[in-house]
């Protein structure tokens, strides 16, 4: 008999069905992956199992857990099962943990509330769990508040809170999406280990096929509330029976693809010359002002028609770099030149004639499109500024042409941004940037918020534009599979310093910096036959407020030697690559 038995589950809000006739089962100790893009109903399903759906959700079907019907059960009944039998880990631990309680208190309260152990033993039990989920120094973390922990540690604490009642079923809803890739690998490994120790069943909800490949026995694939596919993980990956699933698998990020990039004509003068630019912010800590060095001096030349990707985890300084180049924040030192002439530091003081050539696409179109303007107005605004003499009819024509160019129909012109899907809105943002024919486009995590299939469409669009108009791209991302697909050169940043700057092929095949290697190995492979990789790098990014002495990566580096702890490595040429590592010449990190 299965532990959890979901039969014909339907969830609808007013007229909108979000889950339709969904049936699946989870046996004790088994792991099931629920995969789907946003809006496919995967989180709603999890919420239904936990009895956490909002009051206006209409449900049908049945959810039986160990013989007990969950659907329609009162909170009183559900609370007998929550924590002790079924528990959940949410996407963002910052939101799921109570900011007013210490980590220890939150876990201890679960023990006391559900009378899992005697009050005297609650502290001991909590400390044991904190230790089990890999929090270093549990005694200290017990009294720490969530905001004082790093993202990865917070998620460990959250997993501890879910497992402290020794549930039979753990539901993890995108447990690693909010985390950096090196930390993601650690958390996934933790989940694997914990499951081998106790016989806990797992439902892992994710949009990332790489995450389920090595972690789930069986998969269900959802699309728009419908069950697309249901079967063993290996079978679905090798022979998907459904066209949508096949496309999902094809669009899932992987590193073993060949780049589809245009070749560059050598010898062209750089269009953008970034010379020793650095960024620092004044930070007040404990009443005193200090400097937070977000970006250490860095130089980069961008050729016409070239794509350079800037890669790094959170806090690496990649966004600071983009903003300083565009003049949205002041650089502490250094200059940016466009086509040979130096630009004023801030965008406000750059003449409009130059300004139009450097445009940007932001991460979240919900934030970068004015909510009070219609699509047509948003796209037309730059035309009004740079070609003020354009007649209204001509301007409208330009706008419709541009929208068609980015793949949007004329019916969207009168819409407001919140009436668009994420992909459509990002296309509008791209149209706004492209309509004044810039020479350089900076994309700051421009596809990070989008689903896999839409992500790949947007990348194709940008590459087509590059091929047609010779556009140069600075592509800022944390997603290495995107980097692999589109870049000519890649720059890896860590804590505001360049680790490595190399050609695409070179970097992915023969990384020279241990951090680059760690990043590459952390990307989950969407292939169930591949062994779930061991954790390539321990620890998390050090605090930028208190950077380690010497090489910033040395506390996490398995190749570190004494010299690394005292001397900051310089960026040097090694076999055609620029690397900042003392041991770059002796180490062979090639794949």
């Amino acid at each position: 008999m299965s532990l959890l038995d979901v039969k014909d589950l339907s969830i609808r809000y007013t007229d909108k069905p979000v889950v339709n006739q969904l049936s699946f089962a989870v046996a004790a100790g088994e792991s099931l992956g629920i995969v789907g893009e946003s809006g496919s109903g995967k989180t709603q399903t999890a919420m239904a199992v936990m009895g956490l759906l909002p009051a206006n959700a209409a449900t049908g079907g049945s959810i039986r857990f160990d013989g007990q019907e969950f659907l329609g059960s009162s909170d009183e009944v559900m609370n007998r099962y929550r924590a002790c039998r079924v528990a959940m880990v949410f996407q963002d631990p910052m939101k799921a943990l109570n900011p007013y309680l210490t980590i220890g208190d939150q876990l201890r309260r679960i023990l006391l509330e559900h009378k899992i152990c005697a009050p005297r033993e609650a502290r001991e039990g909590t400390l044991a769990m904190l230790k089990k989920v890999g929090l270093p120094d549990p005694e200290r973390q017990y009294g720490v508040y969530p905001h004082q922990l790093s993202g990865g540690m917070r998620q460990r604490a959250m997993i501890g809170a879910a497992l402290i009642g020794e549930p039979d079923l753990l539901i993890a809803d995108e447990p690693t999406t909010a985390l950096d890739v090196t930390v993601q690998a650690q958390i996934l490994k933790l989940l694997r280990e914990l499951r081998t120790q106790s016989n806990t069943a797992l439902i892992l909800i994710t949009h990332d096929l790489g995450v389920v490949a090595g972690n789930c026995d069986r998969l269900i694939v959802l699309d728009d509330g419908q069950l697309l596919e249901h079967g063993a993980t290996a079978e679905i990956f090798t022979a998907p029976s459904n066209e949508r699933t096949a496309r999902l698998i094809a669009c899932s990020p992987r590193l073993d693809v060949t780049a589809r990039i245009s070749s560059l004509t050598g010898g062209a003068k750089p269009i953008v010359d970034i010379d020793n630019i650095s960024v620092s912010f004044r930070e007040r800590r404990a009443g005193r002002f200090g400097h937070l060095h977000a970006l250490r001096p860095l130089s980069l030349q961008l050729a016409p028609g070239e794509t350079v990707s800037i890669v790094g985890e959170s806090g690496s300084g990649k966004t600071s770099l983009a903003r300083a180049v565009l003049g949205l924040i002041p650089a502490q030192s250094g200059t940016v030149s466009y086509a040979g002439s130096e630009l004023p530091g801030l965008v406000q003081s750059r003449p409009n004639k130059v300004r139009r050539n450097l445009q940007m696409v932001f991460q979240d179109p919900a934030n970068s499109l004015n909510p009070a303007m219609r699509v047509a107005e948003i796209v037309a605004e730059p035309v009004g500024i740079h070609q003020p003499k354009t007649k209204k009819a001509d301007r409208n024509k330009l706008v419709s042409e541009m929208l068609r160019h980015v793949g949007l129909g004329p019916e969207l012109q009168e819409r407001f941004p919140h009436e668009l899907s994420g992909g459509q809105a990002q296309r509008v943002a791209i149209a706004r940037a492209l309509i004044i024919k810039p020479k350089v486009l900076v994309c700051d995590e421009a596809v990070a918020a989008l689903d896999g299939t839409i992500q790949s469409d947007i990348l194709h669009l940008l590459q087509a534009e590059q091929a047609d108009a010779g556009l140069s791209l600075i592509f800022i991302t944390h997603d290495l599979s995107v980097v692999r697909q589109i870049s000519h050169r890649v720059m890896v940043l860590y804590m505001g310093r360049v680790c490595e700057l190399a050609g695409n092929e070179e970097l992915f095949k023969r990384p020279k910096h241990p951090y680059t290697k760690a990043l590459l190995s952390s990307v989950p492979v969407p292939d169930p036959t591949a062994d779930p990789q061991d954790v390539p790098v321990a620890g998390e990014v050090s605090s930028i407020l208190d950077p380690p002495k010497g090489c910033p990566f040395h506390p996490r580096c398995q190749h570190a030697v004494a010299r690394c702890t005292t001397e900051i490595p310089k960026l040097e040429s090694v076999n055609g690559t620029r690397v900042a590592c003392h041991r770059a010449r002796e180490l062979d990190l090639s794949y």
Binding site: N352, D364, P371, A372, F416
Partner: protein, 284 residues
């Protein structure tokens, strides 16, 4: 026009919101009655009739609300009071809207020292005791209808400026402002094309809440005898007069008080309804 664009969906959603429709209809009805009511009545607001003083409501000769101690028709006087009160309140709110939005948006957008100085000025004005300020105004200049607008507007814009500044501070962090800078929009263009249309929702809601506030302040001034002068009147002045005759003729207090309460309630409900209607996340 982006302002128009910002209004349209609000109007559409407002139409489907029952609170808004009902409270707005009642307000319009009262306003209409205040405009045409006195025309329909055979009585004039200033004409005294000592033979018919203290006539009860609906007691014949078209004294719908009865008469006061001087035999003046209370219905006509109440309608005049509504007219004066609404006029004062709306003018005061528009004044506070104009000054407050411009002041707050500039302080918030420019930021830094300019913001600090501008907001300290607001703080200083806040510290002024209002009633004292009004009495001073009344003493220096003579009692004057216009002065009431000035006095009420002078305090209301302070709140508006603070709210708008706070909103502007968070709006200017949004990436669409950065995007506008990159495509070459000037500072003025950013304030007026990109920031203020997004303030619209907050401002509308806040304005519907300042109108009742202004009404109350005007009533307070009139109640203290600092407001409009006889034979002109306002709801506050009428309530004041009614209190004096409360035992002999309670309708003199009740009638204007009910109308005043109704207007205040409607504006408050309207504000609540609009708050829902302008929230872009709330779909109909």
């Amino acid at each position: 026009m982006s302002y128009l664009a910002a209004i349209k969906p609000i109007v559409r959603k407002s139409r489907e919101n029952r609170t808004i429709v009902v409270s707005l209809s009642i307000l319009l009805l009262i306003g209409l009655l205040a405009l045409i009511g006195p025309w329909l009545s055979p009585h004039h607001y200033a004409s005294t009739d000592f033979e018919h003083s203290f006539v009860g409501p609906f007691a014949g000769d078209w004294h719908l609300f009865g008469t006061d101690d001087l035999g003046r028709d209370l219905f006509v006087r109440t309608m005049l009071g509504v007219k004066v009160t609404l006029f004062v309140a709306i003018i005061a709110s528009v004044v506070s809207l104009g000054i407050g939005v411009a002041y707050g948006a500039i302080a918030g957008y420019v930021g830094g020292n300019v913001d600090a100085v501008m907001m300290r000025i607001v703080d200083a004005l806040y510290a002024l005791p209002f009633i004292f300020f009004v009495i001073l105004l009344m003493v220096v200049f003579e009692r004057n209808f216009l002065l009431i607008f000035v006095a009420i507007g002078a305090i209301n814009w302070l709140d508006m400026a603070r709210i708008v500044r706070g909103q502007t501070l968070s709006l200017k962090q949004r990436e669409f402002v950065d995007a506008a800078r990159l495509i070459g929009v000037s500072g003025r263009g950013i304030i007026f094309r990109h920031i203020t249309p997004n303030l619209f929702g907050v401002v509308v809601v806040y304005m519907t809440l300042t109108i009742p506030q202004a009404i109350l302040v005007e009533s307070l001034l009139s109640f203290l005898g600092l407001g409009v002068q006889e034979p002109q009147t306002s709801l506050g002045a009428l309530v004041n007069g009614g209190v004096g005759n409360m035992e002999r003729a309670p309708w003199l207090l009740l009638m204007p008080a009910i109308v005043l309460a109704l207007i205040l309630l409607c504006f408050n409900f309207l504000g609540d309804g609009l708050r829902d209607a302008v929230d872009p996340k709330k779909k109909t």
